[in-house]
Assembly symmetry: C2
Homo-oligomer: 214 residues x 2
């Protein structure tokens, strides 16, 4: 399998974790989101992913975009270890947390959105960072509340094995730290992320471990 | 089942369509997102959904948030008619299109985001509408390209029955029309939406058909 990826993209980071947890062999096809005005806008890449975003997975010629669609696909094609274990309600809990990150935090802070704020509204660096932190802090407060309500006793978000929820949480916390967000009081999140970061599948997926890291 | 909903929320609209397609009985619990500063911020509602967003589904006391998590849950608990039919790749195509809307268009134009633009950046009405249209037009161009690449011959996004992709597309096009976005050239989208709007399950879910419509 081949993954169009960028080391700092947290959506690509999710898929890298999932591929590693499944023990699947994959090659990175780096797409530099900043260099030369953004390689994701080049026609070659637009023909892979018309949205001009990473990641995109190439599984023997079938190209799939959208990190959560990719991960659900991987989980259906390679069921073990399950990233969505349990009954319908347990799976809903996992997806609810994953989507709280993937819909309500990440897209609002995506590079193209930040670029729009600067370009069209003349938002300065300080205000842009306040925007970034606002959505991360608001969203991770919700994640902490969801964990408080539904987590149970496991080491990870839901149980004693990592799921799609953990796969989404770790990259989001990585970004929260990088942009100095105020999240140190979110204890459940920190416990979960610590458990994840002890696993090689998560460590090998981290931005600094990627071939395109600069 | 009970659904916390707001007539104009396109995320709630998705769930209303899914409930109707499944033929499930449900009651609306309206949460007015504008009146009194937004009923979604009241402590009573925060105890239902800590994110302070609609929709939320109450299935005999189990409350699930995030529209796509709710719909996947409904599809697992009530498999017929299937909203994610087919093999893993077909299901990936459906989720890819749904997530292109649910992650890459809708959250950036959510009410709380538009309110932030006005409150913190002093963005005026005209520029706010340009922002709104930019993300809808960019995102629906991607949807059209995905349909061009993968749609096949069916009446709906993928095949001859409505799926999660159609469930997400119809509310997004509703918003596109409401805000005068430039989308009339997106032929495949219009063909699909026309097929959907011929179905009672979609019509009964529309904003103007809701008890809280004003």
């Amino acid at each position: 399998m081949k993954l169009y990826t960028y080391f700092r993209s947290s959506a690509a980071y999710r898929v890298r974790i999932a591929l590693n947890l499944k023990g699947l062999a994959w090659n990175a096809l780096p797409v530099h989101l900043v260099r030369s005005g953004g390689e994701q806008h080049l026609p070659e890449y637009r023909s892979v992913n018309p949205a001009g975003l990473v990641p995109a997975l190439d599984d023997e010629g079938a190209v799939i975009t959208q990190s959560l669609a990719i991960i659900e696909y991987l989980d259906e094609r390679h069921p073990e270890p399950a990233l969505l274990p349990g009954d319908a309600l347990q799976r809903a809990r996992i997806r609810e947390l994953a989507l709280t990150i993937a819909c309500d935090i990440h897209p609002i802070n995506n590079l193209r959105v930040l670029q729009y704020l600067t370009r069209e509204f003349g938002v300065d660096e300080e205000k842009k960072n306040a925007w970034y932190r606002h959505w991360v802090e608001t969203g991770l407060e919700t994640v902490e509340a969801l964990l408080a309500a539904h987590r149970g006793q496991g080491r990870f978000c839901f149980g004693d094995t990592p799921t799609l929820a953990d796969v989404c949480l770790v990259p989001q916390l990585y970004n929260a730290r990088r942009f100095d967000c105020s999240v140190s009081h979110l204890e459940r999140i920190h416990h979960v992320v610590e458990a994840c970061e002890a696993l090689e599948a998560f460590r090998r997926a981290a931005p600094e471990s990627q071939p395109d890291a600069v």
